[in-house]
């Protein structure tokens, strides 16, 4: 049995007028989507993509196939919406699901685009996902050094998105065994453009509560410039023997109404 706590926070940022990020955080599914394509396509694409995962909400023990099927549904739904005249819309999608395979629980992470999935365990922050972005390809090829990631002209050009009519997305994915007290961080690039991995690790180290950590990560991104929408989901596996807190402890929603922000302690099945 894996017991989880999580928290989410989002902000439109200091410059943009619309929040094109959407998130869903409800056991066993956690996703962040960063839409693109201008008004109203970006907001619509990320919302449609996230909506494809609501059927997994509160339903224990989905399989990897269930989750990948939702990714495919999300992609097709964005393509269909684009047929209605919203050409050029698409969205990134990063997610984490607690799946059941042969009776055991596993983490199943997945990513398309340049939103990110991190794992925090043993005081080490590890980026599990690889950005599907032009600048990451240049870094991987050794043509650009990592410190120029944020000032390269191609820094916001993503190479894989949901919603491309001709090409169902190739989804990167990870299967991991849950470990007590580990944390996962899902975020849009509005966080990682402003905070480097050290700054993120500092916040995760200082804030034991997942909601407080998510809130403070967003606040620090805003303080650092907040040039883009910022969305953060923090999920953590409860340690062995830690006391349960009332499962009804849902706190308020985050800043943007688009985001389901919940903080709960739930016994898994």
């Amino acid at each position: 049995m894996v017991r989880l706590r999580w928290g989410t926070a989002t902000d439109v940022g200091g410059i943009r007028t619309r929040n094109e990020d959407h998130a869903l955080a409800d056991e066993p599914i956690f996703v962040v989507a960063d839409g693109m394509g201008g008004r109203p396509g970006g907001e619509l694409a990320s919302r449609i993509a996230v909506d494809a995962f609501t059927c997994l909400q509160g339903r224990p023990g989905p399989t990897q196939e269930d989750v990948l099927a939702a990714v495919t549904r999300a992609d097709r739904a964005v393509v269909q919406a684009a047929d209605g005249g919203n050409t050029g819309m698409g969205t990134t999608l990063v997610g984490l699901a607690l799946v059941t395979d042969d009776g055991s629980d596993y983490w199943f992470g997945f990513n398309i685009g340049d939103s990110r999935l991190y794992r925090w365990a043993g005081d080490v922050l590890e980026q599990l996902s690889t950005d599907h972005s032009e600048v990451q390809e240049l870094i991987t090829a050794g043509l650009v050094t990592a410190e120029h990631r944020h000032d390269h002209p191609a820094r916001h050009v993503v190479t894989r998105v949901l919603g491309v009519p001709a090409a169902p997305p190739t989804t990167d994915c990870w299967l991991l065994c849950p470990v007590p007290r580990e944390r996962f961080l899902l975020c849009s690039d509005g966080l990682t453009d402003e905070l480097d991995d050290n700054a993120i690790a500092t916040v995760l180290r200082a804030e034991p509560d997942p909601y407080a950590a998510a809130r403070r990560l967003v606040d620090e991104a805003l303080a650092a410039g907040g040039r883009d929408n910022v969305t953060v989901v923090v999920v953590q596996v409860e340690g062995d023997g830690e006391p349960d807190i009332d499962a009804a402890g849902v706190t308020g929603t985050a800043d943007a109404s688009a985001v389901t922000a919940q903080r709960r302690r739930v016994a898994h099945r």
């Binding site: 410059i15 990948l68 050029g88 032009e134 993503v158 090409a167 883009d228």
Partner: protein
Amino acid sequence: MIPSLRTPSVEMPEVPQTAMRVRYRVGDSTAVVGVSSAVLIRVPPSDDSVAALWRAVSSGGGAVALLGVLAGRPLPELPDFALMCRDGDRTVLLCRGTHGVRVGLAGGTSTELAAPGVLTWAERVVTDAERVVLYDTGVDRTPGDLLPVLGGVVPAGAVECALAAGAAPVVSPPAATAPPAAPIPEVAPPPAPIAFEAAEGASEPAPPPPPPPGPAASAAPPPLVRPLLRSTVRTDPAVGAWSRPAPAEGLVGDHDGHTIARATRPSPRPSLQPMDTGRIPVIVCPAGHHNQPTASTCRECDLPVDFDQELVDVDRLVLGVLRLPTGEAAAIDRPLIVIGREPRASRPDARLVTVRGTDQISRMHVELRVQQWTVEAYDLSENGTRVTNPRQPSVRLERDRPVTLMVGGEILLADELTLRFEARQHP
């Protein structure tokens, strides 16, 4: 079953390495069996053509000579037949009417040749056959014992020819005195000129023959060529329809504020989805265990496996279990199995096996890559992995140099934990 048939080779005298081990089941056709060729033909043994075939077979005649005997009469009178003839590395297969050929290929795959609706006969050449079965696809398999035959003419319904050359050099490399006439090729032969219609991707197999009302477990009639070798090449179509989004408005500084998508082809990567659902052909032993189509005895219980049964396609092959020191078992039923203290994988259909041990054991210590019937162990660890297969010396794995794990083999992690590969489908 006659118990002695479990090891038919023991009863046979030493035969040349090129010889076949042949078993047959009594039936309504006639089998003519020689050293390197066999014919199953729907005529009584007294038919004139049988004597002529025997002369051709016993004198080592090739496929052309055998076909010359058969084709010496008007086509409408040509009886149904199935024929195999070895020619060096190649095996020539012919069949007509309801008589068909099933071939077990090296590597555990298999294919079939049949000629429903063909006016003349079907023909194919394969280069890596390990086992050839000539049988009447239109007849119920009559119960009866499998009988060995070294050569001759027998009333038969099916004939199995196990080709010896593939197995011989594994244990003893050819001695210097070995006749140079029959070299065992070091390298793989050129691609077999098998017309895997189904593998071309575009065309479906030809319409299947009427299903034999046999005891076969598979309900679907067998297609002309079983689609065993599916095309696995997937291509990412160009992302042509993608258009650059509208520029951002109301922004300051050099930050464009928008994530945009590149209007070009995505970087090529192997697709991870849909999950691999390829079907794998198996034959079933009397106890119900799945076996490689080339098997003559069951890998799990050693019972003899009928050679002329229908192949059954299964979704997922359970090759066995990995027995942990704790007594727990992890099924070997996925293309990738990652073993360690904190294993992880980057594909959805992997199996993660968590072992408890000291930190001498790496988080990801060793991975098994499973392809059909083959299990290969790859070391990922800091402190090393050894593999000990039955009757083989222990091998220390080197990076990127996998070792095949055999049934009964053991994996030793960091000289600390031993995992054993047991060939059982149910833990």
